[in-house]
Amino acid sequence: MAKIQLNGKKLVINSKYSILDLLKKYNLSNKKIAVEHNGVIVPKVMFKKKYLKNNDRLEIVHFIGGG
């Protein structure tokens, strides 16, 4: 198990979980989103290869209505 922070919320996930696995869990793998991993933007091609570990901070953002 690994404790991570996702969009400011604490979350416990299986160890050996990639960013892609996490996106799939939240139905986000096919959506227009961007991911920041410990303050660094992760290119889409790396989602599968990037595994999450204890104390990782993850931000997933998308476009919403705005002025």
Binding site: L6, N7, G8, K9, Y26, N27, L28, K31, K32, I33, A34, V35, E36, I41, P43, K44, E59, I60, V61, H62, F63, I64, G65, G66, G67
Partner: protein, 261 residues
Amino acid sequence: MEDNLKKDIFKVAGKSLKSRLIVGTGKYKSLLETAKAVKASGASMVTVAVRRVNILDRKKPLLSDYIDPKKIIFLPNTAGCFTSEEALRTLRLAREMGGWKLVKLEVLGDKKTLYPNMIETIKSTKILVKEGFKVMVYCNDDPLLAKKLEENGASAIMPLASPIGSGLGLQNKVNISLIIKQSRVPVIVDAGIGTASDATVAMELGCDGVLINSAIAQANKPVLMAKAFRDAVISGRNSYLAGRMDKNYFAIASSPTKGLI
């Protein structure tokens, strides 16, 4: 005349836009209302914000379910950012998300007036241009600072008409005119427009476009107001191209005096 109108193309950062009206997508009652208003406005570009995905509510509809980014250009905006760092982080994420480089930069300086922090804005513009972004920049109506933005590579200058969301309309026509006259990149009045006639006035001054959000979203009937703005912008542009008559202090009769009975 008709030919002249056909040739009147609005181009920002090399992109031709069908409409000189750009609309914001915030403050609407629902995404359906947003989509209807955008359609009625005739806009081919809309501003959008970058925010955290709501991970607790996975079924929540998305903006892109209602407005197709393939048909309408999404212009990512840094609304709500108060430092250069926040703005840069937001736009870098936006680029990763959409894969496009055309963005709107807005670095605010004060919570009460939402007035732009021009020092941070100029600093951010320089960095973004260096990173290959095409930056449309929200700014105050100071001609010197507007020039500075252009010198630093801004793709469009977006001076405020009055504070964001205030609906106070065009408060400093002289400064906006000075900015229009000196700029070689498009000037788009952003923020503070209250009603359709304000947009016409801005367009008659010679602005290349206007950006409207609150004036449409907070009207009693947003979809009808969106249509009003579409027509107002077209009218203002045509009026500018037509060139207004001279002003006179005294009356000049419209009918000939010769042959009076």
